[in-house]
Symmetry: C2
Subunit: 432 residues, 2 copies
Amino acid sequence: MNMPIEMKPETLKTVAATMRALGAEARSAARLLALAPTEAKNAALVAAARELRANTAAIVAANALDLAAAAEARRPAAYLDRLMLDPKRIEGMAKGLEEVARLPDPVGAVIAQWTRPNGLKIERVRVPLGVVGIIYESRPNVTADAGALCLKAGNAAILRGGSDSHHSSRAIQLCLARGLSEAKLPETAIQLVPTTDREAVGLMLKGLDGAIDVIVPRGGKSLVGRVQEEARVPMFAHLEGICHTYVDRSADLAMAQALVVNAKMRRTGVCGATETLLVDTQAPAGMLKTLIAQLIEAGCEVRGDAAAQAADTRVKPATEQDWSTEYLDAIISVKTVDGVDGAMAHIRTYGSQHTDSILAQDQAAADRFLARLDSAIVLHNASTQFADGGEFGMGAEIGIATGRLHARGPVGVEQLTTFKYIVRGTGQARPG
Amino acid sequence: MNMPIEMKPETLKTVAATMRALGAEARSAARLLALAPTEAKNAALVAAARELRANTAAIVAANALDLAAAAEARRPAAYLDRLMLDPKRIEGMAKGLEEVARLPDPVGAVIAQWTRPNGLKIERVRVPLGVVGIIYESRPNVTADAGALCLKAGNAAILRGGSDSHHSSRAIQLCLARGLSEAKLPETAIQLVPTTDREAVGLMLKGLDGAIDVIVPRGGKSLVGRVQEEARVPMFAHLEGICHTYVDRSADLAMAQALVVNAKMRRTGVCGATETLLVDTQAPAGMLKTLIAQLIEAGCEVRGDAAAQAADTRVKPATEQDWSTEYLDAIISVKTVDGVDGAMAHIRTYGSQHTDSILAQDQAAADRFLARLDSAIVLHNASTQFADGGEFGMGAEIGIATGRLHARGPVGVEQLTTFKYIVRGTGQARPG
């Protein structure tokens, strides 16, 4: 089949006018979507999955244009891999849409209800957030994943993908639009910014004259940093995941061996990967040495403090910079600390309030860590790699938030909603 | 007694250095306060109430300085009244602190808990927000009210009162600090910005290098507008409360008569006061006329559309500007609309997503209004003046928020908290 994958010509409109129109369309779509029955939203998701599968060839062809341009621009291999779509990855996106269709619909749920002495019945009811702006980089699959989560939560989405993946994202977004249309929902509920002009991002960060309720940046530290710097609307994001695993003197050695390697090495590129290992100075002799040796044998570069270097000659000296570095790679920093309080002091200084874990058999030490450390996720005797909406049982997530407001930790469909108060009376006037 | 009410001399420090130090102190106080037992927080509140009563004379004396300066600056009478403190108002503040002490402590509550198939036990636990910045104007009682709510929720507060009320606010804050000290909590948990330099507000709006988690502006539209324009940190606020009462064709006339007058006239200066009355064009003959006559007899100026003017010759013509004006006074705008959909179209165009009410006996019309109108508070057959944390049973509130994120509607102690995830394992590594 022949699917149009080019941008609409916007030559006659300024970027500002294009974006204003897009914002207004998103706002009206959001109003309709807020009232859409669960069945319609699910039907759109399932139809979009079908469209993705049916248009696999066209999507791969669109992706080839992006890949060719990226190769010409001499992007590194890892970058090209993130950009690449093949039938297997397209099938993965389609399955993702079907999974979101199976999630419970958060909209309309009564979160709380009570009756006042004067007879007023008050309900706190979940409603969609409104319009979500998503700004992402080279991974075109974010188009489907983020669009689907916004749709399920009754929100309109304005997607701004990286210019390097624009053809791919456009081909995917067309499938989502067709799914919406088949389910008699507005196609404008999931829009892709039709221009790759950087000005469009600036306008989104200012909220498009009130059309955008929340911004979700998906990408590397420089993208998220820019968004945090410039955004004038609320945002769900984490700048980085400098996650720690602290091994207490009371830790079980076998458990620590298994969990430290898992926390660092299962996948090094995820935000929940441990970046710094903290080991109690009072840990049994050999604990530090064993953990380091295992990491090195698993293929991890270890940069450590004096004690870590003394424990294994293969340990490179860590610099001050290492304690605040998110490697996202097979590198770990290792430091010895004075018990649970020493660990917490280090984490408060260098951490990013994302995910931190204590390995300990001493329940008091664990309780202290869990109660006192104020990260979005704190774990006891478990791998930091569980920091993931799916692993929490929340289904797919649009990201992990380290901000303190509204959404904290995994941001799934429920976190993409807000609430309103419905008050039912029988003629109550307020006295006094 | 002789209580120091002057600002500390800050001549040797720049405003920036002063504010940075204040932010750092608030952050450390917040860490201690987050772990403070309920009893200690309550003891501090009760002790602060005692201090307020014991220092009534000193507070009145400090207030006299502010009042004298404001009179010299030829502030209007209403302004002087907001600024004025007398023993009765001080007793009101003290009672307010004791009421906050009696509220349930939201911190530590387990909001949700579940166990994953792999045995991980996940808890979502309420924790304080951190540091709350409150920027307010002439009412010195905000010092006590806002400080108390922040304290109860385990947050540190940075209070920046209007320069016109600085002596009064300082006298009140000293009582709060003594209460904290008596309860062995850090006095720096409730700080008053020690300089009236406007630069301090700008620095707070930028978040004091990450020391402030959320800003709450308390005051008129120009203050809130400035904060919304400049704030780089999240904020709980409403710019204005353009609240509507819609009288449907099915409304009970006697109920409408009682509720319309109450919604407008009970107190005209509160944000939940109705500013626009919408009447169904299909309402029974005489309904519009009766409601207008009652408002005028209650002392309210009525500005209306052609139908309203035709119904009563005392009605002044409403201009386009009237539909988006928050009078906060004994003035109301009146418009006839085409049923519940006409009412919603008007409210969506001119409203402020604060509080809107439908008066109707037709349940379908009411359900449509409650489901479709996306204001923070929607009511059926009740006065808009119920838009108030106390009336909702949430206790005292720091304000009403019309933003969509985190806190919406009344912002009480619970809304001044966030949550974190606590995950308890027994050695789980993440597969795959």
